[in-house]
């Protein structure tokens, strides 16, 4: 065991050592110090003011100003999007500007933009009115061409003074008309013309009919291009073109302004975001007694201490402060946050494990083994090297375009796939391996590794369909023999093989889990856990299921016909009976009785001693102190023994006993159910292989049997579609999910506490992006 102590600490095995620190920052260097710390990103601040509302905090005004500025920036972004301008991405080498300057600049730009928009609106409205007037002239000119031509000039005057806009009629000039006696009345007609919405035409016509008691003539035409009277037209047209020119100039002016804003927009947005984050963090700090310094507390990893100290020194120097920043270590009451330094490869696996629960501070991290066993168990359920090659191509494409895809904003499904690209890569590689072992290439077996081990009994192969082939050579060297495909006895053979394989993998992985709990107990120096939890767990599990695994191996090696179900069940029901034909080992009956007794003894061993000894320790420790301090009755016993702190708390024996009983029962019952749960490895691999066979035989081969090229192409297309969507997508997700469940429940349930919290340092890099 000293061998394990002498090994260096493994990279991801346990979380980084953290320390609780206190910072005392003089006021003038506070802002600079926090922004430098934000760039470093290795210190998690504790909120010392969380009992205050957001409006009672010190820097609430600055936060409000930042909020205003970000609102203005969002407004600019909207305007740029509406004007459909492409955002300029050329790097601007402008010098850094101050926050106050930025504020005034933004205010100026905003007023300018708002004014330009308002003017543009007014111009556009005038333009539209004039356009409508032009259309009225066109139509009315058409209607009245049939009227007497010498009245045309007066008519034109009339038209000039009248126009109608939706429901609004101007009658003033009609009245004037009536005052003038004369020849204009010869036609006996009054007329008005204008533009109206198409949907309101019927109502308008009816209203006119009622108003004029039926003495009216109504003509309408849709607004299109029409030939019209040149003189009036000229005036209107020139006015229109003036307005158009003005509008265009206005738009161009606005676009220039927007462009000039747009080139700075990203930089300004980043600046404002950072400033807001800095002020939010400053709000978490407290003023000390002298009111000249800010006091902050937080967690940082021990390896980061020199970096943080260097950053703080730089901040002091840059802000020309006389007093340095004090940075020292403190004791903390709560347990530290969990921090793993992952790279882009291990990050995805750590996320998978963290989705179940964040590791307790410094407990064994399952990721170390999950990196390999998770893709491996996926591959056991997915095993087909043709599909594996497709997955590999997909993963390689994602990895090759890593840089480009990483900076884009992707849809939610693509984002998941991109984030897990290394997981998919490993899954694909292992799938190819398992596919070679199962000997399935889109469900077709190949003779890659030599000749098959089976042949007909005689040269006529007469009984090949009744009694079958015989094994005449050594076993096929790598994987499943290709002779099995398509036989009547293929399924019984493969089922037996895969079920036993699942049990063996299950026993191996669960033993690994129990051994990891030993290493945890050893790390936290809890010999109680080792003696009264690890040892009985190992004994119970291996005397039953380890024995089953051993029997499986022996049956395979000797080729015995023993029925393992029978052996296991009667080991419990009547252990003293004669084993008879099912004998696999020498002295099997006494061995089974011994194992059964060991298992029975192990159950109370993992149930009773630990609570009793804990009670004894507690009584010894606080002997004679009848008036202990009142504390919480809830205790975390596993960490209590490891922590150095004295806790004057009540020891609730019944609660501890119940907790231990739950743990023991969960293990005992879980031993059976978890082992059976591993049979899903068999179930899914069977489903995958059967689906694959069906698509190959019933779609591709069937279509290929016809001579018609169209049917062949159609069959190929259906085969490709079915493979891509059902096998590659649905089966991948399904096997992904089941492998995940096997890891979370069966493997991590044996040793993982998962009651820690994640380390979230104050870092500019991890600020949320503004949503578009």
């Amino acid at each position: 065991m000293e061998f394990f102590d002498n090994l260096p600490a493994m990279d991801l095995m346990r979380s980084e050592k953290m320390t609780f620190v206190q910072l005392i920052i003089p006021f003038e260097s506070a802002h600079r110090a926090i922004s430098y710390l934000g760039e470093l990103g290795l210190l998690q601040f504790r909120d010392l003011n969380d009992d205050k509302s957001p409006f009672q905090r010190t820097f609430v005004n600055q936060v409000k100003r930042c909020g205003e500025m970000s609102r203005k920036l969002r407004f600019f972004k909207d305007q740029i999007n509406k004007a459909s301008l492409l955002p300029l991405t050329h790097p601007t080498l402008q010098p850094d500007i101050d926050l106050e300057e930025l504020e005034t600049q933004l205010a100026e730009h905003e007023t300018e933009l708002v004014e330009m928009n308002a003017n543009g609106e007014k111009l556009r409205q005038t333009y539209n009115e004039l356009l409508e007037f032009k259309m009225v002239l066109q139509k009315a000119g058409g209607f009245l061409v049939s009227a007497q031509s010498h009245k045309v000039t007066e008519d034109r005057e009339l038209e000039e003074n009248l126009y109608l806009n939706n429901d609004y009629i101007e009658r003033a000039s009609l009245l004037e008309q009536e005052m003038q006696p004369g020849p204009s009345n010869q036609a006996g007609l009054r007329f008005i013309s204008g533009i109206i919405c198409k949907s309101k035409i019927l109502r308008f016509e009816r209203m006119l009919f009622r108003a004029t008691r039926g003495n009216m003539f109504f003509n309408q035409a849709p607004a299109e291009e029409y030939v019209m009277d040149p003189v009036l037209a000229e005036k209107v047209l020139s006015r229109l073109s003036e307005l158009e020119a003005t509008l265009d100039a206005g738009i161009r002016h606005r676009n220039t302004a927007l462009n000039s804003i747009g080139s700075h927009l990203k930089k300004w947005t980043d600046m404002v975001r950072k400033e807001k984050a800095v002020y939010d963090t400053l709000n978490m700090l407290n003023f000390d007694v002298t009111k000249k310094c800010l006091v902050g507390e937080g967690w940082c990893p021990i390896f980061a201490k020199p970096q943080i100290q260097e950053v703080l020194q730089r901040a002091t120097f840059d802000s020309n402060s006389q007093v340095g920043i004090i940075f020292h270590v403190m004791d903390a009451v709560e347990s530290p946050p969990t921090y793993f330094r992952t790279n882009k490869f291990t990050h995805a696996f750590q996320e998978i494990v963290d989705a179940y629960g964040v590791a307790r501070y410094q407990e064994a991290n399952p990721v170390v083994y999950t990196v390999i066993t998770y893709p491996f168990l996926f591959a056991v359920m997915f095993g087909d090297w043709g599909h594996g090659i497709c997955l590999l191509l997909g993963a390689l494409i994602l990895i090759a375009r890593e840089r480009r895809l990483g900076s884009q904003k992707l849809g939610s499904f693509m984002e998941l796939a991109f984030g897990g690209r290394y997981v998919i890569l490993l899954m694909a590689v292992f799938s190819i391996y398992c596919g070679l072992i199962y000997n399935e290439f889109f469900s077709v077996p190949f003779h890659i590794f030599g000749l098959s081990a089976y042949k007909c009994r005689d040269s006529t192969c007469s009984d090949a369909r009744t009694t079958g082939l015989i094994k005449y050579r050594d076993t096929y060297p790598f994987g499943v023999d290709p002779s099995w495909r398509g036989n009547r006895s293929e399924l019984p053979f493969l089922n037996s093989l895969k079920m036993k394989m699942s049990i063996l993998f299950g026993v191996a992985q669960m033993n690994l889990g129990i051994i990891l709990s030993y290493f945890n107990a050893r790390f936290f120096a809890s010999s109680l856990d080792i003696r009264y939890q690890f040892v009985p767990q190992m004994i119970f599990f291996n005397s039953l299921f380890g024995y089953l695994a051993l029997l499986i191996l022996i049956k395979w090696c000797t080729g015995s016909q023993a029925d393992l179900y029978h052996v296991m069940i009667y080991m419990f029901l009547s252990p003293t009976d004669d084993i008879g034909d099912n004998q696999l080992l020498w002295a099997q009956r006494p061995l089974q009785i011994l194992l059964l007794l060991l298992a029975i003894v192990a159950v109370p061993w993992m149930l009773f001693p630990k609570p009793l000894i804990l009670r004894k320790i507690h009584i010894e420790r606080f002997q004679g102190r009848t008036y202990g301090l009142l504390g919480t009755s809830e205790m975390d016993l596993d960490s209590e023994l490891g922590s150095a702190r004295q806790r004057h708390e009540e020891f609730n024996f019944s609660e501890v006993l119940v907790h231990q009983m739950i743990h023991a029962i969960e293990f005992v019952l879980g031993a059976v159910s978890n082992t059976a749960s591993y049979l899903r490895l068999w179930a899914l691999s069977l489903a995958h292989s059967e689906l694959s066979t069906v698509f190959y035989e019933k779609v591709l081969l069937l279509a290929w049997g016809f001579d018609n090229i169209l049917i062949r192409l159609a069959g190929l297309a259906v085969f490709a579609f079915a493979t891509a969507f059902i096998l590659l997508m649905m089966e991948t997700l399904s096997a992904f999910l089941h492998a995940l469940r096997l890891h979370w429940v069966e493997f991590m349930g044996k040793f993982y506490f998962a009651d820690g919290y994640k380390f979230r340092p104050f870092s500019f890099a991890s600020l949320p992006e503004e949503d578009d």
């Binding site: 079958g468 076993t475 790598f478 994987g479 398509g486 293929e490 191996l553």
Partner: protein, 69 residues
């Protein structure tokens, strides 16, 4: 090829993998130990898979019976 010989081949492949990992990505003692763990886990998993399938076919209880047609 025999069970033992192929198992030896797996062990040799594992050793070669560990050496390659040490040569290509030398990252200090803690990192190297992590890579070594990964290589050992891979070797054990792959060997187990192969060994199970091989052992199951060594002394078969049923033989392939061809189907009709």
């Amino acid at each position: 090829m025999g069970f033992l010989i192929t198992s030896l081949i797996f062990i040799v492949a594992g050793v070669i993998g560990a050496l390659l990992a040490r040569i290509c990505c030398n990252r200090g003692p803690s990192g190297n130990l992590f890579h070594l763990t990964l290589v050992i886990t891979t070797t054990v998993c792959c060997w187990m898979m192969w060994a199970i399938v091989y052992l199951a076919q060594m002394n078969p209880l049923i033989v392939p019976i061809l189907s009709e047609g």
